[in-house]
Protein backbone atom coordinates (compact mmCIF):
# COMPACT_ATOMS: atom_id res chain seq x y z
CA UNK A 1 0.00 0.00 0.00
CA UNK A 2 1.26 3.32 -0.96
CA UNK A 3 2.08 5.43 2.03
CA UNK A 4 -0.09 8.35 1.02
CA UNK A 5 -3.15 8.11 -1.17
CA UNK A 6 -5.41 10.98 -2.09
CA UNK A 7 -8.60 9.16 -2.97
CA UNK A 8 -11.01 9.80 -5.78
CA UNK A 9 -13.51 11.93 -3.92
CA UNK A 10 -11.02 13.97 -1.96
CA UNK A 11 -9.95 17.54 -2.57
CA UNK A 12 -6.93 19.01 -0.85
CA UNK A 13 -6.28 22.70 -1.06
CA UNK A 14 -2.91 23.44 0.41
CA UNK A 15 0.45 21.83 0.72
CA UNK A 16 1.30 18.16 0.78
CA UNK A 17 4.74 17.00 1.79
CA UNK A 18 5.86 13.41 2.14
CA UNK A 19 9.07 11.45 2.50
CA UNK A 20 7.45 8.47 0.80
CA UNK A 21 5.32 7.78 -2.22
CA UNK A 22 2.21 9.78 -2.96
CA UNK A 23 -0.63 8.62 -5.15
CA UNK A 24 -3.21 11.16 -6.23
CA UNK A 25 -6.54 9.96 -7.56
CA UNK A 26 -8.49 12.99 -6.38
CA UNK A 27 -7.92 16.70 -6.59
CA UNK A 28 -4.96 18.64 -5.25
CA UNK A 29 -4.53 22.39 -5.41
CA UNK A 30 -1.49 24.14 -4.04
CA UNK A 31 1.80 22.37 -3.69
CA UNK A 32 2.75 18.72 -3.81
CA UNK A 33 6.15 17.38 -2.92
CA UNK A 34 7.49 13.94 -2.12
CA UNK A 35 11.00 12.55 -1.84
CA UNK A 36 9.96 9.32 -3.54
CA UNK A 37 7.56 8.73 -6.38
CA UNK A 38 4.46 10.69 -7.16
CA UNK A 39 1.70 9.12 -9.20
CA UNK A 40 -1.11 11.21 -10.62
CA UNK A 41 -3.67 8.67 -11.69
CA UNK A 42 -6.10 8.84 -14.53
CA UNK A 43 -9.02 11.06 -13.55
CA UNK A 44 -7.01 12.96 -10.97
CA UNK A 45 -6.76 16.73 -11.12
CA UNK A 46 -3.65 18.43 -9.84
CA UNK A 47 -3.30 22.17 -9.98
CA UNK A 48 -0.08 22.52 -8.12
CA UNK A 49 3.65 22.78 -8.35
CA UNK A 50 4.98 19.27 -8.06
CA UNK A 51 8.39 18.34 -6.69
CA UNK A 52 9.37 14.71 -6.38
CA UNK A 53 11.86 11.96 -7.05
CA UNK A 54 9.95 10.54 -9.96
CA UNK A 55 6.59 11.46 -11.37
CA UNK A 56 4.05 9.42 -13.29
CA UNK A 57 1.15 11.36 -14.74
CA UNK A 58 -1.99 9.73 -16.07
CA UNK A 59 -4.40 12.51 -15.20
CA UNK A 60 -4.59 16.25 -15.47
CA UNK A 61 -1.71 18.33 -14.15
CA UNK A 62 -1.41 22.09 -14.23
CA UNK A 63 1.75 23.47 -12.72
CA UNK A 64 5.48 23.29 -12.83
CA UNK A 65 7.12 19.94 -12.29
CA UNK A 66 10.54 19.24 -10.85
CA UNK A 67 11.69 15.65 -10.52
CA UNK A 68 15.15 14.52 -9.47
CA UNK A 69 14.88 11.31 -11.44
CA UNK A 70 12.25 11.13 -14.14
CA UNK A 71 8.87 12.19 -15.40
CA UNK A 72 6.58 9.87 -17.34
CA UNK A 73 3.55 11.28 -19.08
CA UNK A 74 1.23 8.40 -19.82
CA UNK A 75 -1.33 8.18 -22.56
CA UNK A 76 -4.33 10.23 -21.56
CA UNK A 77 -2.30 12.60 -19.44
CA UNK A 78 -2.89 16.31 -19.78
CA UNK A 79 -0.06 18.50 -18.56
CA UNK A 80 0.25 22.26 -18.70
CA UNK A 81 3.45 23.57 -17.22
CA UNK A 82 7.19 23.36 -17.31
CA UNK A 83 8.86 20.06 -16.66
CA UNK A 84 12.35 19.75 -15.25
CA UNK A 85 13.77 16.28 -14.75
CA UNK A 86 16.68 13.99 -15.49
CA UNK A 87 14.58 11.94 -17.88
CA UNK A 88 11.28 12.70 -19.48
CA UNK A 89 9.07 10.33 -21.43
CA UNK A 90 5.89 11.37 -23.16
CA UNK A 91 3.65 8.56 -24.29
CA UNK A 92 1.63 8.67 -27.46
CA UNK A 93 -1.71 10.26 -26.63
CA UNK A 94 -0.44 12.47 -23.85
CA UNK A 95 -1.26 16.15 -24.09
CA UNK A 96 1.52 18.46 -23.05
CA UNK A 97 2.01 22.19 -23.17
CA UNK A 98 5.11 23.69 -21.67
CA UNK A 99 8.86 23.59 -21.59
CA UNK A 100 11.00 20.55 -20.96
CA UNK A 101 14.28 20.94 -19.16
CA UNK A 102 16.38 17.78 -19.05
CA UNK A 103 19.60 17.84 -17.13
CA UNK A 104 22.25 16.94 -19.66
Amino acid sequence: MASTVIGTGITIEGEITSDDDVVVAGTVRGKLSAKEGITIEQGAIVEADVVGGSLIVGGSLTGNVTASERVDLQSGARVVGNVKAGRVTIADGAQFKGNVDMEV
Partner: protein
Protein backbone atom coordinates in the same frame (compact mmCIF):
# COMPACT_ATOMS: atom_id res chain seq x y z
CA UNK B 1 -9.80 -0.15 -2.71
CA UNK B 2 -7.01 2.35 -2.57
CA UNK B 3 -9.04 4.79 -4.58
CA UNK B 4 -11.93 4.82 -2.10
CA UNK B 5 -9.74 5.35 0.92
CA UNK B 6 -7.55 8.38 1.25
CA UNK B 7 -4.44 7.81 3.30
CA UNK B 8 -2.16 10.48 4.65
CA UNK B 9 0.97 8.42 5.14
CA UNK B 10 3.18 8.41 8.22
CA UNK B 11 5.76 10.69 6.63
CA UNK B 12 3.24 12.94 4.92
CA UNK B 13 2.36 16.44 5.99
CA UNK B 14 -0.69 18.23 4.67
CA UNK B 15 -1.31 21.89 5.29
CA UNK B 16 -4.59 23.23 4.03
CA UNK B 17 -8.15 22.21 3.46
CA UNK B 18 -8.98 18.59 2.99
CA UNK B 19 -12.50 17.91 1.78
CA UNK B 20 -14.56 15.52 -0.27
CA UNK B 21 -16.57 12.33 -0.22
CA UNK B 22 -14.35 9.47 0.88
CA UNK B 23 -12.99 7.70 3.86
CA UNK B 24 -9.88 9.27 5.29
CA UNK B 25 -7.07 7.71 7.24
CA UNK B 26 -4.46 9.94 8.80
CA UNK B 27 -1.17 8.29 9.72
CA UNK B 28 0.83 11.48 9.33
CA UNK B 29 0.29 15.15 9.91
CA UNK B 30 -2.61 17.31 8.82
CA UNK B 31 -2.93 20.97 9.63
CA UNK B 32 -5.81 23.11 8.46
CA UNK B 33 -9.28 21.75 8.06
CA UNK B 34 -10.79 18.36 7.36
CA UNK B 35 -14.34 18.20 6.01
CA UNK B 36 -15.15 14.76 4.73
CA UNK B 37 -18.40 12.98 4.02
CA UNK B 38 -17.05 9.65 5.15
CA UNK B 39 -15.23 7.95 7.95
CA UNK B 40 -12.16 9.65 9.37
CA UNK B 41 -9.56 7.66 11.24
CA UNK B 42 -6.64 9.29 13.00
CA UNK B 43 -4.08 6.56 13.59
CA UNK B 44 -1.99 6.27 16.72
CA UNK B 45 0.87 8.04 14.95
CA UNK B 46 -1.42 10.54 13.29
CA UNK B 47 -1.32 14.20 14.23
CA UNK B 48 -4.15 16.49 13.28
CA UNK B 49 -4.16 20.21 13.97
CA UNK B 50 -7.51 20.90 12.42
CA UNK B 51 -11.22 20.90 12.93
CA UNK B 52 -12.47 17.55 11.75
CA UNK B 53 -15.91 17.08 10.24
CA UNK B 54 -16.85 13.55 9.25
CA UNK B 55 -19.57 10.98 9.28
CA UNK B 56 -17.78 8.77 11.76
CA UNK B 57 -14.55 9.84 13.42
CA UNK B 58 -12.23 7.40 15.12
CA UNK B 59 -9.21 8.79 16.94
CA UNK B 60 -6.23 6.84 18.20
CA UNK B 61 -3.73 9.65 17.78
CA UNK B 62 -3.48 13.34 18.53
CA UNK B 63 -6.01 15.96 17.51
CA UNK B 64 -5.95 19.64 18.31
CA UNK B 65 -9.24 20.97 17.06
CA UNK B 66 -12.94 20.37 17.24
CA UNK B 67 -14.38 17.03 16.22
CA UNK B 68 -17.83 16.97 14.64
CA UNK B 69 -19.38 13.79 13.34
CA UNK B 70 -22.78 13.12 11.77
CA UNK B 71 -22.91 9.63 13.24
CA UNK B 72 -20.39 8.88 15.92
CA UNK B 73 -17.04 9.75 17.43
CA UNK B 74 -14.87 7.11 19.02
CA UNK B 75 -11.85 8.09 21.07
CA UNK B 76 -9.86 4.93 21.46
CA UNK B 77 -7.00 4.11 23.74
CA UNK B 78 -4.09 6.43 23.13
CA UNK B 79 -6.23 9.21 21.70
CA UNK B 80 -5.14 12.72 22.68
CA UNK B 81 -7.78 15.27 21.84
CA UNK B 82 -7.80 18.93 22.74
CA UNK B 83 -11.01 20.41 21.44
CA UNK B 84 -14.75 20.11 21.56
CA UNK B 85 -16.36 16.85 20.58
CA UNK B 86 -19.82 16.86 19.02
CA UNK B 87 -21.71 13.88 17.65
CA UNK B 88 -24.96 11.97 18.23
CA UNK B 89 -22.98 9.14 19.71
CA UNK B 90 -19.64 9.47 21.45
CA UNK B 91 -17.53 6.74 22.91
CA UNK B 92 -14.40 7.37 24.94
CA UNK B 93 -12.28 4.38 25.74
CA UNK B 94 -10.11 3.98 28.78
CA UNK B 95 -6.71 5.45 28.08
CA UNK B 96 -8.04 8.22 25.86
CA UNK B 97 -7.20 11.79 26.75
CA UNK B 98 -9.70 14.56 26.12
CA UNK B 99 -9.70 18.22 27.03
CA UNK B 100 -12.80 19.95 25.76
CA UNK B 101 -16.53 19.99 25.76
CA UNK B 102 -18.60 17.01 24.82
CA UNK B 103 -21.98 17.24 23.18
CA UNK B 104 -23.76 14.06 22.25
CA UNK B 105 -26.35 15.87 20.14
CA UNK B 106 -25.66 18.98 18.16
CA UNK B 107 -28.42 21.54 18.73
CA UNK B 108 -26.84 23.85 16.19
CA UNK B 109 -26.82 21.09 13.64
CA UNK B 110 -25.82 22.42 10.23
CA UNK B 111 -27.82 19.66 8.57
CA UNK B 112 -31.53 19.64 9.35
CA UNK B 113 -31.83 16.02 8.32
CA UNK B 114 -29.31 14.92 10.90
CA UNK B 115 -31.10 16.86 13.62
CA UNK B 116 -33.88 14.33 13.92
CA UNK B 117 -31.49 11.45 14.09
CA UNK B 118 -29.51 13.21 16.76
CA UNK B 119 -32.55 13.92 18.90
CA UNK B 120 -33.72 10.35 18.55
CA UNK B 121 -30.34 8.99 19.37
CA UNK B 122 -29.87 11.04 22.51
CA UNK B 123 -31.21 8.40 24.88
CA UNK B 124 -29.36 5.76 22.93
CA UNK B 125 -26.10 7.50 23.44
CA UNK B 126 -26.60 8.03 27.15
CA UNK B 127 -27.84 4.49 27.53
CA UNK B 128 -24.91 3.17 25.55
CA UNK B 129 -22.47 4.93 27.80
CA UNK B 130 -24.18 3.67 30.92
CA UNK B 131 -24.46 0.16 29.64
CA UNK B 132 -20.83 0.06 28.71
CA UNK B 133 -19.62 1.20 32.13
CA UNK B 134 -21.87 0.80 35.16
CA UNK B 135 -24.85 -1.50 34.50
CA UNK B 136 -22.76 -4.46 33.49
CA UNK B 137 -21.11 -4.39 36.86
CA UNK B 138 -24.44 -3.83 38.59
CA UNK B 139 -25.98 -6.68 36.67
CA UNK B 140 -23.05 -8.82 37.51
CA UNK B 141 -23.50 -8.05 41.20
CA UNK B 142 -27.25 -8.59 41.05
CA UNK B 143 -26.82 -11.77 39.14
CA UNK B 144 -24.15 -12.99 41.48
CA UNK B 145 -26.14 -12.22 44.63
CA UNK B 146 -29.22 -14.43 44.13
CA UNK B 147 -27.23 -17.36 42.79
CA UNK B 148 -25.45 -18.24 46.03
CA UNK B 149 -28.73 -18.22 47.93
CA UNK B 150 -30.31 -21.09 46.00
CA UNK B 151 -26.95 -22.80 45.84
CA UNK B 152 -26.73 -22.95 49.61
CA UNK B 153 -30.34 -23.90 50.29
CA UNK B 154 -31.24 -25.41 46.93
CA UNK B 155 -29.72 -28.86 46.94
CA UNK B 156 -31.14 -29.88 50.31
CA UNK B 157 -34.58 -28.27 49.98
CA UNK B 158 -35.54 -27.82 46.34
CA UNK B 159 -39.33 -27.90 46.89
CA UNK B 160 -39.12 -25.12 49.49
CA UNK B 161 -37.43 -22.66 47.15
CA UNK B 162 -40.56 -21.67 45.20
CA UNK B 163 -42.14 -20.71 48.49
CA UNK B 164 -39.15 -18.68 49.50
CA UNK B 165 -38.83 -16.79 46.25
CA UNK B 166 -42.20 -15.01 46.59
CA UNK B 167 -41.60 -14.52 50.29
CA UNK B 168 -39.08 -11.64 49.92
CA UNK B 169 -41.75 -9.73 47.99
CA UNK B 170 -44.32 -10.33 50.75
CA UNK B 171 -42.45 -10.07 54.00
CA UNK B 172 -45.27 -11.70 55.98
CA UNK B 173 -44.67 -15.37 55.01
CA UNK B 174 -41.01 -15.11 55.91
CA UNK B 175 -41.40 -16.32 59.54
CA UNK B 176 -43.34 -19.40 58.34
CA UNK B 177 -40.21 -20.90 56.89
CA UNK B 178 -39.87 -24.45 57.95
CA UNK B 179 -36.56 -25.19 56.20
CA UNK B 180 -34.09 -23.37 58.48
CA UNK B 181 -34.60 -25.80 61.33
CA UNK B 182 -34.19 -28.66 58.87
CA UNK B 183 -30.61 -27.69 58.05
CA UNK B 184 -29.49 -27.52 61.67
CA UNK B 185 -31.36 -30.76 62.20
CA UNK B 186 -29.16 -32.32 59.56
CA UNK B 187 -26.15 -30.89 61.26
CA UNK B 188 -27.33 -32.22 64.59
CA UNK B 189 -27.90 -35.59 63.01
CA UNK B 190 -24.44 -35.50 61.56
CA UNK B 191 -23.08 -34.43 64.88
CA UNK B 192 -24.95 -37.22 66.63
CA UNK B 193 -23.74 -39.70 64.09
CA UNK B 194 -20.22 -38.50 64.60
CA UNK B 195 -20.62 -38.64 68.33
CA UNK B 196 -22.03 -42.14 68.05
CA UNK B 197 -19.14 -43.12 65.85
CA UNK B 198 -16.73 -41.56 68.25
CA UNK B 199 -18.34 -43.33 71.11
Amino acid sequence: MAANVTVIGPTARVRGRLSGVANLEVLGFVEGEITVDGDVTVDSHGMVGANVHGRRVVVRGAVRGDLVAAEAIVLEEGARVVGDVTAPRIAIAEGAFLRGQIQTADENAPETSSGRAQVVSRPQSSAAVRVSSAPQKERAVVAAAPKPVPKVEGPALTPVNPIRLPSPANNAPAPRRPPPPVVPAMKKLKGQMLKKKER
